[in-house]
């Protein structure tokens, strides 16, 4: 109940009112779990923006993978991200967490760059996503390219400044049987989305 209220009274008005959001190809958003969303990562806002794309029915089952070191460092923040955002901490037990989430039909949100880089510049992708895809060959993986969040709330600056954000969704892909090829496909997917306006 608290999450439902937060979703519609705080999150949605914040993303649309303070930031402003433009979504390209919203029809490519997964309509049911299990599914994986992979996105470029520039800001803490990325998770919130992606959550806001979904109706609450799906948003409540979204499990963002987030740094355990950072988010579990203080007790209040840990309560917030574990209870309200339901993150899967990115630590040694991460893969188990992801497998469990996908097995129970949830949508996993991954930032394969591993960290928030320079705005709109894609850092090299970590291959953890390939391991996950290999173990779940029939779970669709949707690439997402986010712009603007890195200007609104970049790494290393706690002050939020309103900027329009845009989210471009790509065609879902499946595990192709080969790790190198999979990572290459994923990178190409991101690159195409990054060129799309």
């Amino acid at each position: 109940m608290a999450r439902l209220l937060l979703f519609y009274v705080v999150l949605k008005p914040f993303v649309h009112g303070v930031l402003g959001l433009n979504v390209g190809r919203k029809d490519l958003l997964p309509r049911a779990g299990p599914a994986i969303l992979v996105a470029n990562h520039n800001s803490h806002l990325d998770t919130l923006v992606l959550l806001s794309l979904f109706p609450y029915r799906l948003a409540k089952n979204i499990r963002p993978v987030a740094s355990a070191e950072y988010f579990l460092s203080n007790r209040f923040l840990a309560w917030f991200v574990l209870r309200l955002l339901r993150i899967i901490p990115a630590n040694r037990a991460m893969l188990d967490g992801v497998h469990a989430a996908l097995a129970s039909g949830e949508i996993v949100l991954l930032f394969p760059e591993g960290t928030r880089g320079e705005p709109e510049q894609l850092a090299p992708l970590q291959c953890g996503i390939a391991h996950i895809a290999k173990s779940h060959p029939d779970v669709p993986i949707t690439p997402v390219f986010i712009r603007g969040t890195g200007k609104a709330l970049p790494r290393g600056d706690p002050v939020l400044v309103p900027f329009l954000c845009s989210v471009q969704l790509g065609e879902a892909m499946l595990w192709c049987g080969d790790k190198v090829q999979f990572m290459r496909n994923l990178e190409r997917g991101f690159h195409e989305l990054g060129c799309r306006r």
């Binding site: 402003g20 433009n22 200007k151 970049p154 600056d157 002050v159 400044v161 309103p162 900027f163 329009l164």
Partner: protein, 299 residues
């Protein structure tokens, strides 16, 4: 309910119904979808604006303050900004509620000088504190230009509420005429336009569109003046011409900005129109010019 507001509301409704019927019946093949999207957006923004006039001055001003915020946010998202200036942008945003508050508090003097004097001095000062001189001039210039256009110029629509017995009628007058002029210039230009006014800036603007727009806007400005304004017949002709020309100038000014930045539209907020700046660009000229004309002649 204010009888003038009621008349204009009914008039707007009739126009929207006629336009919708025309699109459904004629089914223009080229750009048909675009026109339908545009009209759908009109069905949302026209009632929103008219409702914003109903509850009173503070509410109307809040409406325009929100429009200013959306326009400024769109502008800041469009231009290149330096990361070092993030806090300066917050100062610019923070000036919006104040600028409209001067109107609410009947402080014409502060309204007139707050952005051109105080914000003009404060923004470079705040930028100096960050200490980044690379791109200083272009940063302060682009940032301030956005503040002047999306906040200062637009706030002159709200400032019409400051004028004694001015109020809602004058706001309706300038907004309806400015939007009418946009639509008329578009329709005239589409139906019989060939030679372009400013081909290198805006290839869509033709002499036929401009002159047809001026004539249509003057016709409506004469018709509406007795209901909404204290203007005499000849003053209303002048107001119509000023709004038509000003609307054209505002439009091509923002076109030049878009060309410079390689964008077709300023945003995507208003389907069929583009961004919010694409819709309100005409007010950059019409709002201050009309405000000062009325203030000079009647108050």
């Amino acid at each position: 309910m204010n009888p003038a507001l009621l008349t204009v509301t009914l008039g707007t409704l009739v126009l929207l119904v006629i336009a919708s019927a025309a699109i459904v019946l004629l089914r223009p093949s080229s750009e048909g979808d675009e026109l339908i999207r545009r009209l759908k957006t009109w069905w949302v923004i026209a009632p929103l604006f008219l409702m914003a006039l109903l509850p009173g001055r503070a509410f109307t001003l809040a409406f325009f303050a929100i429009v200013s915020f959306l326009a400024l946010r769109e502008y800041f998202s469009l231009i290149p900004t330096r990361r070092a200036d993030r806090r300066v942008l917050l100062y610019a945003y923070a000036s919006i509620p104040l600028q409209f508050a001067w109107v609410q508090w009947d402080r014409y003097g502060m309204f007139a000088i707050f952005i051109p004097v105080y914000m003009f001095l404060l923004i470079p000062l705040r930028m100096l504190i960050t200490g980044h001189t690379d791109g200083f001039l272009s940063a302060v210039g682009t940032l301030y230009w956005g503040l002047m256009t999306t906040v200062y110029c637009l706030s002159h629509v709200g400032a019409l509420l400051l004028l004694p017995h001015g109020g809602v009628g004058l706001v309706l007058y300038v907004v309806v005429l400015t939007q009418w002029n946009d639509v008329m210039q578009y329709i005239w230009g589409r139906s019989l336009g060939h030679s372009k006014v400013l081909p290198s800036v805006s290839p869509g603007k033709t002499w036929a569109g401009l002159i047809g727009g001026i004539c249509s806007t003057i016709a409506l400005s004469i018709a509406l003046a007795p209901f909404l304004t204290p203007l005499t017949r000849w003053e209303s002709v002048l107001a119509g011409a000023l709004i038509a020309l000003g609307g054209f100038l505002g439009d091509v000014t923002v076109s030049a900005v878009k060309r410079d930045l390689n964008h077709k539209d300023t945003g995507t907020m208003l389907p069929g129109h583009g961004g919010i700046l694409d819709r309100i660009d005409s007010f950059i000229y019409t709002a201050p010019l009309f405000f000062h004309m009325v203030r000079y002649l009647h108050f």
